[in-house]
């Protein structure tokens, strides 16, 4: 398992397209969203932790799409490359190799994500003179972003077993916008519920509350049953 983890990590992290696609989407984030300049006037409490929370919120709006899409071709790669015969003839178990592949590929695909996030945190800490922001960044990343990536990794590993990777990618992008970004006022959605993979429940709960003036993501989390009822009647429970 460790060998597979190591080599799958190495092969994925050296993949040029991984860095190119992340860079393109990251550029969109910088141009279209305030990732470079964080307006923190609406926040309470520690400015550093709020800044890291908002930075995470911006990153998780689009980068998980790249994450899922770049994972989608990995589960079937051994079969496509016809390496599976050699691998299956070794005494290493299939399950161990699958776990190693999942962990290695997911970790490698998260590296550009982490570089973008911690790069921003480092910049903030240096420019604003708030080294504590690095600690808040680590907490936010581990508690709020990583669980979402773990779920998306599992989805991106299971989905292409049922669908061709290209079809899965299209559906994955649709899922991301529907299930994580679209406001509940528009249509029944998983957005801003506990089922959303953006990690905002954790972020708002343990890192920083949402900005006072914010809409959409600022809606306070309710409960699983509330989320379920929201799916049935979108306009009702959404204002909880």
């Amino acid at each position: 398992m460790i060998a597979t983890l190591r080599y799958e990590f190495a092969m994925q992290v050296r993949r040029p397209s991984l860095w190119i696609v992340y860079a393109l989407v990251f550029a969109v984030l910088i141009v279209a969203l305030p990732f470079g300049s964080l307006d923190l006037n609406d926040y309470e409490g520690s400015v550093g932790r709020q800044a890291m929370s908002v930075a995470a919120q911006i990153l998780v709006s689009l980068l998980p799409i790249v994450y899922g899409c770049m994972l989608a071709d990995r589960p079937s790669r051994d079969r496509v490359l016809r390496v599976d015969g050699i691998l299956d003839a070794t005494p290493s178990g299939r399950t161990a190799r699958l776990i190693g592949k999942y962990a290695g590929v997911c970790a490698a695909t998260a590296v550009p994500f982490a570089v973008a996030y911690f790069g921003r945190a480092l910049l903030y800490a240096v420019v604003e003179g708030q080294p504590s922001a690095l600690g808040w960044a680590a907490l936010t990343f581990l508690a709020s972003i990583v669980p979402g990536l773990v779920f998306l990794g599992a989805l991106a590993f299971a989905g292409p077993l049922l669908l061709p990777p290209m079809v899965f990618r299209v559906l994955f992008v649709a899922y991301w916008f529907w299930g994580n970004l679209i406001p509940a006022a528009m249509m029944p959605t998983l957005s801003h519920t506990i089922f959303s993979a953006t990690g905002e429940y954790v972020r708002y709960g343990i890192v920083a509350p949402p900005p006072r003036a914010a809409s959409g993501p600022a809606r306070r989390p309710c409960s699983t049953s509330c989320a379920r009822s929201r799916l049935r009647s979108p306009p009702g429970c959404g204002s909880a």
Binding site: Y7, L81, R82, G85, L87, A89, T90
Partner: protein
Amino acid sequence: MRIDVSGLTKTYKGGARALDGLTLTVPTGMYGLLGSNGAGKTTFMRILAGLLRPTSGRVAIGGHDMATAEGRLAVQRTLGYLPQDLGVYPDLSARRFLDYIALLKGLHSRSARRRRIGELLEVVALSDVADRRLKGFSGGMLRRVGIAQALLADPRLLIVDEPTTGLDPEERIRFRTLLAQLAGDRTVLLSTHIVDDVAQTCRSLAVLAKGRLAFQGTVGDLVSHAYHRVWTVSTPGPAPVTGRVVSALPEGTGMRYRVVAAAPPDPRARPAEPTLEDGYLALMDG
């Protein structure tokens, strides 16, 4: 490492029967497995390597029952397998690819792994390009990487499926010589439809036809199937209509045909010494 197979049957989804009650014993040493395309050789090899489960029948390798997970694991610990459609990771170098496979085969000591990989790269004459990415390798070079990975854990059983397909003549000769040298006290099972590869390397062989055992014995036994059935015919006219034409060589104004047939195919036919290929064709033609 002896292989005992009895009543082996493999039926794929859709009803295609690749193996049909195959019973066979493979002794230690170099052993050839001949058969036309679709004869069931690859299915047989994949079952021996633990990649496929038979529909029925029994396979024991070195006393290990391949029907049990423990048996398959024990065999895979001593197995080197080179599949017909060999694939590699194009973004890894030959050395890194071999390192990965070595780890999967349980060679955990880094120094022992490095030493073994270095030795094998020498054996397959790839030391000079060991750190180049595999995507730049030719078919012959990839085959050599394939044989190197099969030998990593010093296997007692080596299964090679159509190893010389697509190689140029020089590579082919080098490859089969290497296999023959490796045999020694190992069991090397060479599956091929190239009769000459078996003729040059194996003493014993089996022939599969439509998933069944058509022949098992020595090379000499198979050649003897063609005794008094091989003829050469020199003629300016068309090829003989009876028997199977093995070769046709231009000769002066006519052609010289080599024919496998039960009776002289032409009044001008002369008897000829049979080869393994003649024996194989005589067997297949009944």
